[in-house]
Symmetry: C2
Subunit: 272 residues, 2 copies
């Protein structure tokens, strides 16, 4: 059986999509095609969305599942005329919230991911710049300003994790790759030991590391399993030696790695 899910919004669609995906992943074995339609904010766009929903209904022989966060009632009415089953996020939760807070909701479109606070936006951009400037061991004189410094072997996930923490939460994350040269010496580089309380380790399964490195530099010594095993061993030994908390990234998504690290060290989400 094939089904289609639509995530509709008069804003970015991020809320409808996040919620819908989260719910749908609870159903294994059903093939569900997912379509996000953002900025459904006028009658023309609503009619286009209805046409797409009805086409999917026809093709699937079953009503599409529609998760929507559309605020304006006239737009919603148009959408509700389509041949779908509705999971209405705002209708469900706004009324009880209004009751709790004792005020009416503003029913304003696309508030969540709009630029509500310039300072917050600014903090995120600034954190992205920080992550880029302090990526891969660059500009180490800024470590004093870092919220956290990720360390680990090359290609274990440090850069995407730093960028995700910057973009999503406005956190200043630097990263330092422990290279062959670093690992040939005992201990850790001075620059890292000076900021020891900010260090957090990333490690990875050597087989997966070798596979990732092969894509970058095929058949190099850098990508060989021997080299990967040696580097991971050396790095993990140092994490133990210096009591550095670490996470094995092998089976985690970027979101999970970032969230677990922040939870571990008590980093508060600056942006939400």
């Amino acid at each position: 059986m094939r089904r289609t899910a639509f995530f509709l919004s008069d804003g970015t669609g991020i809320t409808a999509e996040t919620l819908g995906n989260s719910l749908l992943t609870q159903f294994e074995g059903v093939q569900i095609e997912r379509v996000t339609i953002p900025y459904v904010d006028n009658p023309d766009k609503a009619e286009l969305a209805v046409a797409r929903i009805n086409t999917a209904a026809e093709r699937d022989g079953a009503p599409p599942l529609v998760f929507d966060t559309i605020v304006k009632q006239d737009i919603r009415n148009k959408i509700m005329a389509s041949r779908a089953v509705f999971f209405d996020v705002f209708d469900t939760f706004l009324k009880p919230l209004e009751q709790q807070l004792g005020i009416s909701s503003s029913y304003t479109s696309g508030k969540c991911h709009s630029i509500n606070e310039f300072s917050t936006y600014h903090r995120r951009i600034e954190s992205v710049n920080f992550a880029l400037d302090n990526d891969d061991g660059g500009r180490q004189q800024d470590y004093g300003k870092a919220d956290i410094i990720l360390i680990g072997v090359s290609r274990c996930g440090k850069t995407p994790t730093c960028l995700y923490m910057a973009l999503q939460f406005g956190i200043r994350a630097a990263n330092y790759p422990l290279t062959q040269e670093d690992l040939d010496r005992p201990g850790l580089p001075d620059i890292l030991l000076r900021h020891r309380h900010k260090l957090y380790g990333l490690t990875i399964d050597p087989f997966q590391l070798a596979s990732i490195r092969h894509e970058r530099r095929n058949n190099s010594r850098y990508a060989s399993l021997d080299q990967c095993e040696w580097e991971v061993d050396e790095v993990e030994r140092r994490f133990r030696e210096f009591g550095i908390t670490s996470i094995n990234t092998t089976h985690f998504s970027i979101e999970e790695i970032a969230t677990r690290i922040m939870d571990d060290v008590g980093l508060v989400r600056g942006v939400a």
Copy 2:
């Protein structure tokens, strides 16, 4: 009146937080403190969460608002004993979804942002690497592989937008800064014209641009309002001349810029 909202999850908390924030931004004028507690996946953590909720209830003199996506019933029962008002995301929507799909949900914790598909994860990491390699006009020989190439003056938001599209949607986005040197000449650089169908313009209010540049290089010519006005004028003229679709980033968040661009050019979200 002060209220506290908790976003609770046995996973990353991203779904509860996204939904809760989206709903709460509909209420202006109420000061709501927001606390995310991820990985509430055992009885001890549940009890810690209950203690934090009850402390907030005491302090606020009103029950906290709890948005939760906890799946396991024994953990939920513990949380439900706290002095809070509950907005239960899964309870609300999973039952009707089960009915629609004709199967039971798996009730598995933290499925959404876990690493369900290695290929998807891989695509995102690879797209982040692509964005970094092709940031700021670097490595232009890869433009053939780009899904989109963002162009605009320095500091108008190109880099964060590229990284967001890569991390969130697995899209390969390059960016090229149009510098004084480029703008002193007529037209656009050859390398861009060769990929004209992939170009998308970013522009920005010159005052905001000057303010952003001042933080980077205070009192430089680069940050002067005159220079910013001239560059923005020149860039916008070229967008018109070559029929390049563009967005003014001044009042938009990174999410909005990325979503609007993707919607404009019909880029399908590769990862959701």
